[in-house]
């Protein structure tokens, strides 16, 4: 069940792209287009988290936030291009949970969303990802196949996580490296090859061979 995230943002391109980004990362985005009835929409949709711009047509993000706070404790992330510390202070005072300035790094934004969701709605276990009988458990960093389990390092976990979430599609090396950097793992091209080889050895150890296939000049495929 994907978590619903509401986007309150007046720039149409940023709005649609945020929607795409959140959808692509396993969330369920919903957008506000009629800024006259934002608060009512928040009540109706009851999102798990709100991304809120400060400069909006009609009411400002600050007054919207205080109105939302009067009936809900939903986490609010302020996303704005005005980055004076006065604004940041204001956002904290009226109950904003985080303050991110444009132009934001999407990896940082997503990390913030995930950590706030985890804090606000604890106890939600992410279930393992499975593909062709292999099950990846991201929470304890193991891979299960048949009745055998193998421990993974942080790099290996993240590489496998990316491959599992893109199962059936070819993942280019550049995309994987990109993803690893976004996960704060600064791996270069050579290190990626080393890691892939190590993963293959580990998988072979639990009887899983030819799980990761190399597509020449394209990337990897599971």
């Amino acid at each position: 069940m994907p978590e619903k995230i509401m986007i309150i943002e007046d720039d149409p391109i940023i709005r649609t792209e945020l929607e795409t980004l959140l959808k692509g990362n396993g969330f369920l985005p919903c957008v506000v287009t009629d800024f006259e009835r934002t608060v009512r929409q928040v009540k109706e949709e009851d999102p798990r988290l709100i991304l809120l711009d400060i400069k909006l047509p009609g009411k400002s993000g600050f007054s919207l936030c205080s109105e939302i706070r009067s009936f809900s404790d939903v986490p609010v992330i302020f996303v704005t291009s005005s980055d004076t510390d006065m604004d940041e202070l204001n956002s904290i005072m009226i109950g904003g949970d985080a303050f991110i300035t444009k132009p934001y790094n999407t990896a940082i934004l997503l990390a913030k969303i995930r950590s706030l969701l985890k804090r606000a709605w604890p106890g939600r276990q992410s279930e393992g990802l499975s593909w062709h009988g292999a099950i990846l458990h991201p929470e304890d960093g193991t891979l299960e196949y048949g009745d055998r389990k193998v421990e993974l390092t942080k790099n290996e976990q993240k590489i496998l996580y990316y491959l599992f979430t893109h199962a059936g599609a070819i993942c280019s090396r550049a995309d994987i490296i990109d993803y690893l950097w976004d996960s704060r793992l600064y791996v270069d091209d050579n290190a990626l090859s080393v890691n892939i080889n190590r993963i293959r050895e580990k998988l072979a150890g639990i009887g899983l061979t030819d799980f990761i296939r190399t597509k020449h000049r394209q990337g990897y495929l599971i």
Partner: protein
């Protein structure tokens, strides 16, 4: 002069009236005596007055306001000068005020413009992130540079401002380093920079955004003045009384003669002449922001010499004093 003329006239009159020369001489001596006493008194009082005025001017912090503290003189001639001083002061104050207003308006315009430009930059970043390919990665590298330059402009506009616009909070040092790396992700990836990050969990009290900007500048410098196989090492150390954060690279280094001046505004030095796009602003802004935040910034560097086996590189160390907040309150 008037006195002399009067004396000559009186002498003539008295001699013609049949007085003896002795009487005339006596009268003249008395006259000169009284005249001298009078002159002395007026000299001393004038000197005392001018000393007082000069002293007042010395004490005044804004000397151009002197006409304000001067009392209106009694003599007609002095009054004219006084009037003229007043007029000069008024027109000068108008000029200064105009200049100040124009500068403020310009600064506000720059800040406004930067806020506006951030919306399209954000849109480009999102578009690229949602459609990752080799092309969008190239674009992102360029967008990173645009972001960097706009941030630099914003902080430059702000650094001229006397009011301090920061928010001191407890921050996790490692998070700021990760965020600064993320800011320069494509620059670092394209140049295949090897990164080394600390493992310690250290918390400090500072302004997160300013610190991130400072680290951004240091990372960009490390890449700009890189050598073969570039490497950036971040080191943190908790010394109890203070915490240090060092950014160390294995780049081309800075000549000793230039090292003392790198924090000066507009200074580019030997490296600036060899590498294009040196603005001479990055380190200047770092220093300025560090001063405002009470952070000590220090730079060490070594240049490789052909004769020696010495490794080149630059290390910038930031020192956060745990009690620096107290000093700031006093400021």
């Amino acid at each position: 002069m008037t006195n002399l003329l009067c004396m000559v006239a009186l002498c003539g009159f008295l001699l013609l009236g049949g007085n003896t020369p002795d009487t005339v001489v006596f009268i003249l001596i008395i006259w000169i005596l009284i005249l001298c006493i009078g002159l002395f008194i007026s000299y001393f009082s004038a000197k005392r007055r001018s000393d007082r005025l000069l002293g007042m001017a010395e004490e005044l912090e804004e000397r151009y306001l002197i006409p304000e503290v001067l009392e209106k003189p009694k003599r007609a001639e002095d009054q004219m000068y006084w009037q003229m001083l007043k007029m000069a002061e008024r027109s000068m104050l108008e000029q200064v005020e105009n200049g100040r207003r124009e500068r403020n308006e310009y600064r506000e315009y720059i800040e406004q413009w930067i806020h506006e430009i951030k919306t399209p930059i954000t849109a480009i970043r999102l578009l690229c992130d949602n459609n990752r390919s080799d092309l969008t990665r190239e674009i992102m590298g360029e967008v990173e540079k645009i972001t960097q330059y706009t941030e630099q402009t914003l902080y430059y506009a702000r650094s001229e401002n006397t009011q301090n616009d920061y928010l001191i909070r407890e921050i996790r040092l490692l998070d700021v380093i990760h965020d600064a790396v993320a800011d320069n992700k494509y620059l670092l990836m394209q140049n295949q920079v090897v990164l080394e990050l600390p493992r310690e969990e250290i918390y400090i009290c500072s302004d997160e955004k300013w610190l991130r900007f400072i680290l951004d500048q240091l990372i960009v410098n490390a890449v700009k003045y890189r050598s073969e196989k570039p490497m950036i090492r971040f080191l943190t150390e908790d010394m109890g009384e203070y915490v240090t954060l060092s950014v160390q690279d294995n780049g081309i280094g800075i000549e000793a003669a230039d090292l003392l001046r790198v924090f000066e505004k507009g200074f580019t030095g030997q490296n600036g002449r060899n590498v294009l796009h040196s603005t001479g602003l990055g380190l200047y802004l770092c220093r300025k922001l560090c001063d405002k935040l009470g952070i000590r910034i220090r730079i060490e560097s070594a240049v490789r010499e052909p004769s020696k086996e010495q490794r080149s590189g630059t290390k910038v160390t930031l020192t956060f004093y745990l009690n620096h907040l107290i000093h700031q309150v006093q400021d």
